[in-house]
Amino acid sequence: MKRSVGSKSRESHGFWYANRFLILRRFSQFSILALFLLGPLFGLWIMRGNLSSSRILDTVPLTDPFVFTQIVLSGHVPEINAIIGVVLVVFFYMLVGGRVFCSWVCPVNMITDLAGWLRRKYSINTTSKLDSGFRRVLLVTVLLLPLVTGYVVWELVNPVSLMHRGIIFGMGYGWLMLLALFLFDLFIVRRGWCGHVCPMGAFYAQLGRKRALVIDAYQRDQCDDCADCYLVCPEPQVLNQPLKSKSDSTIVSSIDCTNCGRCIDVCEPKVFRFSRDPDTGQA
């Protein structure tokens, strides 16, 4: 039988070690959804609104910087609550750095992860070539559109806000779009949505440019070329530089890395760890 990805790590270090960050991530994603759902379902209003704008305990406002940027570019000057909210969120993501939104918060990540897992499990290898820089072109386009039309155009179709909003306020026909996205990832392009298309992910990558939290391949001399990390990584190209190049730095420095930590989970020789210093790589 074909060895499944991460099985060596699981055999050597146990189930918890081999799935730590995956479980923590799912916990984070579900808790955030649960906090937003407690209000509508049980009248416990810890969080109001959705990921686009929200209020914690009816006091602290939060606003998504991607939506906020589109609003400003459309020519509207937002009220103070949206401004305070966006400052708080930007501060958080710049502090942590990287695409932590993508792997720890975004609900669509669960769909694309599922498609990725099914691809591995059933060896679905069909994939069309799509340049992973497409998302950056789309991001620029999506930010230009409000300037030209005066509308927040991307939010008409953005599946990320559509899914989060749908879970809290009613999905309607929104599931059609999510199904399309799932099938796109499953059969058309490997890691198609998050790795090639989503302009929101590309936006958060830019926001987290200066990363405080990075993946460090500090024991890369232990690597036995099993390639499990390449198989689970949503952005496998980011692993080349620390693992395969002769560069001194062992840091995954690409802004495309989502800080999901899955490479740490599946690596049997424990090549990777989270590190807080992008320059020296000290833990």
């Binding site: 109001r48 209020r55 606003t63 509207h76 937002p78 009220e79 789309l138 927040v152 008409l156 026909y173």
Partner: protein, 240 residues
């Protein structure tokens, strides 16, 4: 060799920029035309009180639903994919649940972006739409009955909607009471449409742009003209 290499990379650069431009142009125009297409509200969908004029609203609203959750009467809904309003935006359908015109306007208070204008401090100034008798044939009052429901339920009774007594053309000796909306006062809350008795309402609240006409600016109405005012003051001078 070096020169050749530079030439090739230059050409590759131009090529990839051109390709990026095409991709951006293609996806951009698809998205923009979709936005244009879906930016019109269905006639039955109304915006919450204080909403900016529709084109501005679509640039200002973050689609957070804070207004929806603030509404104590569950009037507001947040549109999803293929709903009656553009994806993610708040709206209500008066026939289902009208706006109760809360004094403190909690929906406006909750809005973080100003898509619902915080300058609205008196709910009577809200213009969510305008009520229109869309079908005289199905209005019970216009059939000579005393339904009066739209008039009775109106929060601005006798201001936004009045009953005008008219001779009933069908029966010589009877009157009918025609509900007449004053579009300058009507807030568009939709209580009348909600309450209207017939199976399909005879009175409907339409978004302002669809409910109202406009006379050319250069038009001079006689009763507003200086001449008319002079005549009036002269006339009243004679009377007194």
């Amino acid at each position: 060799m070096a020169i050749q290499l530079r030439k090739r990379t230059r050409r590759q650069f131009i090529y990839s920029m051109a390709r990026a431009g095409c991709v951006a142009g293609l996806s951009g125009s698809l998205l923009a035309s979709y936005a244009k297409q879906s930016s019109s509200l269905a006639a039955s969908s109304l915006r919450p009180p204080g909403a900016l004029p529709e084109p501005d609203f679509l640039g200002a609203c973050s689609r957070c639903g804070l207004c929806v959750q603030a509404c104590p009467y569950d009037t507001l809904k947040l549109a999803s994919w293929l709903d009656e309003a553009p994806n993610g935006t708040p709206y209500f359908e008066a026939r289902d649940v009208p706006c109760e015109m809360c004094d403190h306007i909690p929906c406006v208070e909750a809005c973080p972006t100003g898509a619902l204008d915080p300058a609205l401090d008196d709910i009577d100034d809200a213009r969510m739409g305008v009520a229109v008798i869309v079908d005289r044939e199905s209005c019970l009052n216009l059939q000579g009955m005393r339904c009066d429901v739209c008039y009775r339920v109106c929060p601005l009774i006798d201001e936004a909607i009045t009953l005008e007594m008219r001779p009933n053309p069908r029966q010589e000796h009877h009157a009918l009471f025609e509900p007449v909306v004053n579009p300058d006062v009507c807030t568009g809350c939709g209580k009348c449409e909600h309450g209207c008795i017939p199976e399909d309402p005879a009175i409907k609240v339409l978004p302002v742009a669809q409910a109202r006409g406009k006379i050319h600016d250069h038009f001079q109405l006689y009763y507003e003209s200086d001449q008319a005012k002079e005549a009036e003051s002269a006339g009243s001078g004679v009377e007194s």
